[in-house]
Symmetry: D2
Subunit: 379 residues, 4 copies
C-alpha cells in the first residue's frame, strides 16, 4: 500500500506565488500530502493561512525549532518526511542545514544559499546524512527539456560546438529608473539578496539548464554585467561568455531590463550533426534542426519521445499542460457556487450548456441525413 | 474557517486521463478534498486504485446506490458534497439523475447524456433540486477564453458578423482505415456512444465555446458530415453551417480524420469593429485584430485583462501554466527517491546543481569586477 | 541567342498595384521586355505613364484596335508577342478574344471574364488559335505551393480525405457598414463587377488553389453567402461546402468582413497518410503532419524539394524572397541620389557604413587574439 | 521626362545569386536599365551571359579599363551613370577606387574592402569626387527595419539600454568538419577572403544593422571567436560584447556552425520605455513590447508606419513581398511556353482554370439563392 508522503512547507504563505506552485505541484501525481509547516514568522498568520488552504492547524509550528522537535518526537509513520523551503534566500542555508542534520529530506528553492561558501558547507552536511536533497530549478522538469537532454545524451547532435542561452525579463524597469525605488528595493540590496540580482536570480537558471541538457560542464566564464546607474549596487543585466573546452564555446545572456519581455528563457544547442532549440514561454515545442532536412517540431506525449520525457507527460498530444488550469478554474467556480459565494456566470458551464449541446448533436445528424438542410436548434 | 469541500468521483480509475485531469484540477485552489467514490465497477479494483492515489478506502463503494445510502447517512459536516461523474457517456444520465434527486452537487463530463430527451429530463430534475450542476466543457476555463468572453461582452468587437470555429484531430485514422478495427471500436458503435462520433465528441465543444464567448445563440444549423466508408455508421468529420440571425453567420468545422492534427481547436470571431482569435494548443495567446492597427497579443496575468480572466491565472506573466507540470515532475522524482524507487538522474536537480550555481554567481561578479576577464568555475 | 520576349500591357497605369506586380514579375528572370501597350483610356495619360516608368512612347497606343493594327504590321521579330490584360474585369473578355483572334499570346488577370458563358466562348477561341493563355491565379506560383502539389502527386498524403481552404480579408468593413458607401462602390455593383463580390474576387483563388495542389476536381458545391445588409446586392462573405466524391469532402471559407484580417489565405489538405498546411502570409513554410511523427517544416531552396519547387526559388534557404524588395529599396534610394532628388539618410548604406564595418572586423579579430580584451572602434 | 538610369555591373555572371539579386532589385521601381558591364574575366563568357539575360553585347567589355575608356568617350546622355560591383571581395577596392576617380556612381557589395586601411583610402577618394556611393548592406532595405529605425528616432523606446543581435547560420558545417575541405576552401583562406570569415561575412551585417536602426555608435568591443580546429585559420563563430557608453551595452552573436540554421538574423533593442524585435527570416513582422501592454505586431504597408517604411512597400498589407516571386514564376512558365521550351503543367494557370473559376462563381451564387442546396460544377 502506497501511502502519501507527508510534506511540510517553510514559507510560501499568503499570496506567495511560489507557495501556490509548490502546493499544486506536490498534489499532481497523488504522491504528497501537505500536513503542516511554518508558513509565516507569525504563528497566528501561519494558522490562518493553514485554514485558508484547508489543512489542519495542529502541525503548524511557530518556528523551525519547534517543528523539528515535535515532528522528531512522532512515530516514523506519522512524521513529516520531506520539507520544502520557500523562504527568502538568506534563510535557505540555516534551514536546510538544520533539516539535513535532523534527517529530513529537503526540497529547496534556488538559489541554494547566498554564498558559494555556504553552499559547500551544505553539500558536506548532506553527504553525512541519508537525505534526498532537491533544488527547484523548476524549468528542468518540462517534458521537452527532458527530451532535449535525452536526445543529446543519445548523440543526436553529435559533438556539441555552440551553446546559446537567453533569459530576458523586463520587470525591473519601473524600479530601476526611479532613484528612490531602486534605493529601497530588497532585491537590489546586497545585504538582503546576496552578491548579484540578475545573475543570481535568473542567470543561475541558465547555467543549470545548460549543464542539465548538454551533459557538459562550464569550465571558465567571462562576464560583462550592467548596473545601469552609478548608485545601483546590483547587476540587472549581463552577458557571460562560456568556455566548455578550447573549441566548445557559448554564451549566457540575461537581463531584467529587456523591456516588455516576460520570462523569455530560450535554449539553443548546436552540435556537429544537428541543433536543438526550446523556449520556456512555449514549452511544448522542441525544434530539431538538421542541415538539409526540414525542421522537425517535437511535442510532448508522442511515442517518439524518450522515457524520461514521457514520464513527465500526463495527457495525450495536443493538450497543453495548461489544460489543468482550465479545468482547475471550473472547479474553483463550482466551489464558489457550493459555498454560496458570489460567482460570475462564466465560471463554469451549467446544465443548460449541456442540454443545448445534446440538442446540437441530434440536429446536426438530422440535417445531414435529410440531405444537408437547415434545422432549427430548440431553445 | 474554510474547510475543504468533500468530493467523490465516479469512474476515472486506472490510467484514466480524465481521472488525472479532474484530480489535479480539484486540488489546484486548495478547495476540494477527494474522499472516495466508485472508481471502478469492481470493488477490489476500486479500492486498489484508492490506495494507489493515496486515499483511504473506507469511503470507496461498490456502486452508486451504496455510495448514496452511506453518504446520506453521515452528518452533513462529513458527507460528500459534490460528485464528479467521469464514467462512459451512457452512464452520465442515470447517475446524474440519482445524485440530483439525492441533493448532491454534480460535476459531469460532457456530453451531458446520450440523447437530447435525457438531457431535458435531467434539466427538469435539477430545477427541482438545490444542486449546483456543472458540465465540464473544459476549454471554457482558460484565462484567455474568459478574456475573450469579457471583451466581447464589453463591446470590443461591436456587433458580431462572422464566427468560425475549428476542431481538428487526426486520431481516428489508424482505426477508420482498417475494416476490422472500425467495426469493433466502441466509439463507432451507436449503441455505445450515441448518435454521433465526431459531432458528439468535439463538435459540442465548438458549439458550447461559441455560445460561451460570443453571448449569442445558434438558431439554425445545416450539417454535412462524413462517414468515409459505407460500412461505417458514425460521422468522423463534418462541416456545420450556423445561423445566428439573418445576417450573422458562421461555421463549425470538426474532424477526426485531419491527419496529423492533435487537438487543433481554434476560435475566430469577427465583429464590426474588431476580430479576436484564439488557439487551444497555445492557449496563453489571444489575438486582437483591428482594421489599420497593429495586431495586439494579449497574454494571461496582465493588468489589462478582465477580472474574470485574472481570477483564472495563478502565476505572473511569462509563466505558461504548464509550469505546474514542470514543478510537478520534479516533485514526482523526489517522491521516487524518498520511496527508494529507481529514478533517472535527470528527474530532479540535486545539491551539486545548487552548489555549482552559487559558484557561477560569484565568479560572474568577480569576472565583471576585474574588468571582464576569464575566471574558472571550481569543480 | 535568346532575345527577350516583347511584352505589352493593357491597363495597369498610374498607381495600379497590379501594374507594379506584373512589371516586376516580368523582369524577374530576364525573359521579358516591356515595350508598350495601352496603359490608360486617355492616350496622353498613357504616354505620360510610359515616361514615368522609363519606356519609349512610340509603342503606346490609343486603344486595342490601333495596337493590333500597328503591331501586326511589324516584322515578326519586332512585334509584341505577349499581352498582359490588367484592365477592369468586364474588359477581360473582349480584349482577350481580340488578342487571341490576332494570334497574340495572352496573360490575363483573374477572374477570366464576368460570366461563365463568356468564359466558354473564350475557351473556344483559344482552341482555334496557337496562342499560349495564362490566367494569373498568382498564388500558385509560390515555391511551397508547387512543392505541395508535387508531394500530393507523389502520394505523400495517400488518398485525400478532407480539404479546408480559407481566404479571409477585412478590407470591406469601412465600406459595408456605411449606407452611402456601399451603395456607391463599384465592387458592390453587379453591373460593374459581375454576379459576386467575395466569391468572385477571392473565392475563385481558393477554388483554383484546391484543384491546383490536390489534382482533384470539385464536383458539387453548396453555398451559404452573406450580404450583411438588405440593401446590399453582392455577397461579401460565404462558406461553401465541397464534394469531390461521395466520401471526399471539403469547405471553402471566404470573407471580406473578417475584421482585421489582411490576406489570410490558408490551405489544409489531409490524406489517409499525412496532412499538408500552408499560409499565404508566411509563404515560405510548408507544414507536413504525420500521425505519431514530429511535424516537419519545409522551406524553399532545399534539396529535399521537388524540381518544380526549386525552379521557382532564386536564392539560398533563409533568404525570404522579400529580400528582393529590400535590395530594390536600396537601389531606389541610390536612384534618388543620382537624380538629385531629396532622399532620407536611411535609404541606402553609405561609404561610412562600409568603412566602419571594416574597422569592426579588424578590431574583433584583434580583441580575440589579445585574449578577449576591450578594443575601441575608431570613429 | 524621366529616362531610366543607365547601369553596368562588374561580376555577377553565370549562376551568381548576388547577380540575380541586383538585377531584379534594379528593375523593381522602373528606375534602372542594365546596359552592360564586365560579367566575367573572360570576354566571350561575358558576352554569352549578356545574351542569356537578354541584353545587347555591344557594351560588354573585356575589363574595367576598357569599360571606363569607352564609356567616358560617350555623350553624357548615353554614358553609364552607376556601376554595381559584385566581384570577389579583394577586387572591391581597386575597382571602386578607379570608378570613383572617373566620376561614376558606385553600388558596392559588402564587405567594402579587405582591410580597414583600404576602406579609409576609398573614403578619401569619394570625398574628392561627386559620386554617390552605396554599400549593399541589403537587410537595411526591409520596410520593417526602416520602421524600426524611425520609431527609435522618434523616441518610442526612450533611452536605449540593451542591444542584442544574432546572426546564425549553419552552412559551414559540412566543410569545417572535413580536414581536407577546410584546408581548401577559399572562404577559410586569409589570402583570399581577408582577416575573418564569420565576423567579416555576417558579423558586419549585425554591426551595420545596429548602428542603422539604433542611431547609436559602438564605441568598444570585446570578442571571443571560435576556430573549432587547430589547423583552421579563420573564425567561424564568435560572440562580441559591445559598449555604446558606460551603461549602454550589447552583444553581437554570430555563427556559421549553428547547425541547421539558415539565415537567422535577429535584432532586439530594448529602451527605457519599450522594446522592438525583428527577424530577417520573417521580415514583415515588427514586434513592439511595452511593459504591461499587449505586444503589438506591426506589418508593412499600414498607415501607422513611417514615411520611410511606407516608401519601401509596394503592395497592400497581407501581400508578403515574396508575391513578386510567385508572379515572376508564372511569367517564367509563360516564357517557356512561348519559346516552345518544355514546361511543367503546374507552371502557369491556363484557360481551363479560368473557365472553371467562372463556373464556380456562378454556381456558388445559384446554390445560395436557391436556399443553400447542392449544385454540380460543369466539367
Amino acid at each position: 500500500m502506497s501511502k502519501k508522503i507527508k510534506l511540510a512547507i517553510l514559507g510560501g504563505g499568503g499570496d506567495s506565488l511560489i507557495g501556490i506552485l509548490h502546493r499544486v505541484a506536490s498534489a499532481m501525481f497523488d504522491q504528497f500530502e501537505l500536513v503542516g509547516g511554518v508558513f509565516n514568522p507569525d504563528l497566528e498568520e501561519s494558522k490562518k493561512f493553514a485554514r485558508e488552504i484547508g489543512i489542519e492547524t495542529n502541525r503548524v509550528y511557530k518556528d523551525l525549532e519547534s517543528f523539528i522537535a515535535s515532528e522528531r518526537a512522532m512515530n516514523e509513520d506519522e512524521r513529516v518526511q520531506v520539507v520544502s523551503i520557500l523562504t527568502p534566500n538568506f534563510l535557505h542555508f540555516p534551514m536546510a542545514k538544520q533539516l539535513l542534520e535532523n534527517n529530513f529530506h529537503v526540497i529547496c528553492e534556488k538559489p541554494l544559499t547566498t554564498t558559494f561558501e555556504e553552499a559547500k558547507i551544505l553539500q558536506e552536511t548532506q553527504k553525512k546524512s541519508n537525505s534526498i536533497f532537491a533544488v527547484t530549478y523548476t524549468y528542468t522538469g518540462y517534458p521537452m527539456v527532458r527530451q532535449m537532454r535525452e536526445m543529446i545524451a543519445d548523440g543526436v547532435l553529435g559533438r556539441i560546438q555552440k551553446i546559446d542561452v537567453q533569459y530576458y525579463q523586463g520587470w525591473i524597469n519601473p524600479i530601476i529608473h526611479d532613484e528612490e525605488k531602486r534605493a529601497n528595493t530588497w532585491r537590489l540590496d546586497p545585504e538582503k539578496s546576496g552578491i548579484s540580482c540578475c545573475v543570481g536570480d535568473i542567470g543561475t537558471h541558465a547555467f543549470d539548464m545548460i549543464e542539465y541538457v548538454s551533459g557538459l560542464e562550464i569550465k571558465k566564464i567571462l562576464a560583462d554585467l550592467n548596473y545601469l546607474y552609478k548608485d545601483n549596487r546590483m547587476d540587472i543585466d549581463g552577458t557571460i561568455l562560456l568556455r566548455f573546452d578550447e573549441f566548445v564555446k557559448g554564451v549566457i545572456r540575461t537581463s531584467q531590463i529587456a523591456t516588455g519581455e516576460e520570462n523569455n528563457f530560450t535554449v539553443s544547442i548546436y552540435g556537429e550533426k544537428a541543433g536543438l532549440k526550446w523556449e520556456q514561454e512555449n514549452p511544448n515545442y522542441l525544434y530539431l534542426l538538421e542541415e538539409g532536412e526540414p525542421m522537425r517540431v517535437l511535442k510532448p506525449g508522442h511515442v517518439y519521445n524518450s522515457k524520461l520525457s514521457l514520464d513527465g507527460t500526463k495527457l495525450p498530444p495536443g493538450h497543453p499542460e495548461g489544460i489543468f488550469d482550465s479545468m482547475g478554474n471550473i472547479y474553483k467556480g463550482v466551489a464558489r457556487a457550493i459555498r454560496n459565494e458570489p460567482y460570475h456566470p462564466g465560471e463554469f458551464p451549467t446544465m443548460r450548456d449541456g442540454v443545448r449541446g445534446m440538442n446540437f448533436i441530434e440536429k446536426a445528424v438530422e440535417s445531414h441525413q435529410k440531405g444537408n438542410i437547415w434545422i432549427e436548434i430548440e431553445d
